[in-house]
Symmetry: C2
């Protein structure tokens, strides 16, 4: 049995923990914070398009903190499914150290945005970092209940950070093992769920960023649903230019094929004007929670500055959301 530690049992993380245990190839230790007591007592209820109705399910082990997640058997994978916030990553790193066994453990980041791997790769240069992108449409509906609307589509690839002592093949092998294990947990689903190896995961991140950098951010600033923005004058004055700015940055970064005009056109026309979907950043804003602003806009805008790409819309949207985020965080602090 593989030994897995999973940090961040929200919508994505709880489903991932369930799938990994369903593979019958892992034991999962889930690190829970605010919901530890209730899950320890009653387990999770999951309503899933992939797995049906699950009641009172518990991972192999739940712990209330990183420091209580230590184990005799070294971890094969530490899966991080928290929100992608630089401050949160920085605060996790010291606690991860005792959980990582050199030449054994790999980190798996299943998170939104760009450049999320960097802090982990710098802190643990000898440890393979696997980078994962999830399309799953799952969300927590209470501290112990999760609703999953769309089939689990998970892409995993090695980050390939540049360290002589860490072979590319080691990193790729780790990614393969994780994908096989996760896929085993999806083998009995009929909803189209799949976990695939994406050797160029950074390209896939740019592809997803076309949508997240434009729709997600502009819906948040305007407090409007995807369909409302698409029906509004903002479709041509904000959304399309924003998406083309992401495409221009991605092209300058060497991912022109991935963020081509064809893809932009597809994304602009794929969603109906009637869609009531409220993207994650708007949901976080409305809940008064931190936004994934740095990994969704901050990081691509740093690339834009480095490459000299002009970003008239995104720069202002970033500054406005940065102020909104400052306001959210200030209200949280007593």
């Amino acid at each position: 049995m593989l030994n897995v530690c999973l940090i961040g049992a929200g919508g994505v993380g709880t489903c991932a923990a369930y799938v990994l245990e369903k593979s019958m190839r892992c034991h999962v230790t889930a690190v829970l914070r605010s919901n530890y007591a209730v899950v320890q007592k009653e387990g999770f209820d999951i309503d899933s398009v992939d797995h049906g109705q699950i009641r009172g399910w518990k991972p192999h082990r739940v712990t209330p903190s990183l420091s209580s997640a230590t184990t005799d058997q070294p971890y094969d994978f530490i899966v991080i499914t928290t929100k992608a916030i630089p401050e949160l990553a920085a605060s996790l790193i010291p606690g991860l150290k005792p959980l990582i066994t050199p030449s054994k453990t790999s980190l798996v980041l299943i998170q939104n945005g760009l450049a999320i791997e960097e802090p982990f790769a710098s802190a643990f240069p000898e440890t393979p970092v696997l980078s994962g992108l999830s399309m799953i449409g799952s969300r927590t509906t209470s501290p112990r209940t999760v609703f999953q609307e769309d089939p689990d589509q998970l892409r995993i690839g090695p980050y390939y950070h540049h360290v002589d002592s860490l072979q590319k093949s080691t990193q790729l092998d780790a990614a393969r093992l994780f994908v096989e294990t996760y896929s085993a947990g999806l083998s009995d689903t009929k909803s189209g769920a799949e976990c695939v190896l994406a050797e160029d995961i950074i390209a896939a991140r740019w592809r997803k960023l076309l949508w997240n950098g434009s729709f997600n951010t502009i819906c948040a600033v305007t407090r409007m649903s995807v369909g409302e923005v698409l029906s509004s004058p903002g479709r041509t004055t904000l959304l399309e230019p924003a998406m083309r700015e992401i495409a221009a940055i991605g092209t300058a970064a060497g991912y022109g094929d991935t963020v081509s005009e064809d893809v932009v056109q597809f994304l602009l026309h794929d969603t109906p004007d009637s869609s009531p979907f409220r993207p994650s950043m708007l949901v976080h804003l409305e809940k008064g929670q931190p936004l994934e602003l740095d990994v969704i806009l901050g990081a691509p805008l740093r690339v834009a500055r480095e490459k000299g790409v002009s970003t008239p819309v995104l720069s202002q949207v970033y500054e406005l959301l940065n102020v909104v985020q400052w306001h959210l965080l200030r209200r949280q602090t007593p």
Copy 2:
């Protein structure tokens, strides 16, 4: 006695009607819409830093519509104190025609923003248009109650539109008469209220726009108070650049002395970081009412385009507020 018709009895308009009647030199006909019945029955209650507590006050006459505001004695002044919205101006103009007596009536616009005079001057080229800027801090607290926090500071000047048949002196005389009349209504106040003649009222509009184009718009997009924006990173990333863009446009339009760096510095440091003030555009947004976006940002941005002034912050703030306004108006329409 002068005969005055006043359209738009909100915070500014109700106080103006009261002052004009208090002068003992006018009869005011106030055109009321939604609050006609209640004011006709019970009058206005006004709590005013200038005039104290006034209970059950009624203008000389109230009418429920423009068409019922016709009178045997021609109007000397038609005072418009509605919100400055181009669609509203356009819808008022046909109804104003029967109320205007050539060589007798002047229009007085007491409204925010830039270029508010144009539609009236084009529709009534022979009629003097007086342009007024009010600093009064008054607001309606119910359909028949008004709260006035700051002393009434009203500047009135002729718009001087270019028509051969209308003498400059005629326009200036009309402005003088209005200022004298209004001042008579303020003569017993001790709070610092005053009505003054501003021969270059357009310069005064640019001066006020420095604040309205920056603080008012950025508080609205971010849904934050003046003090919150001032304390946030947005002070340097958004507010200061936005105000300097207005200054650059005003300078290109020939008002460089009025919108100088000294004035910018004063406005940036005049308000304490602790100010809980929520500017008008934010208040309108929160009430789901139309924003004065065109006269506060649309008009100066048209000047910017004409003069080739770069407006990276204001252009995006405008587009975002334009989308928010679209959303507000769509929700109003059944």
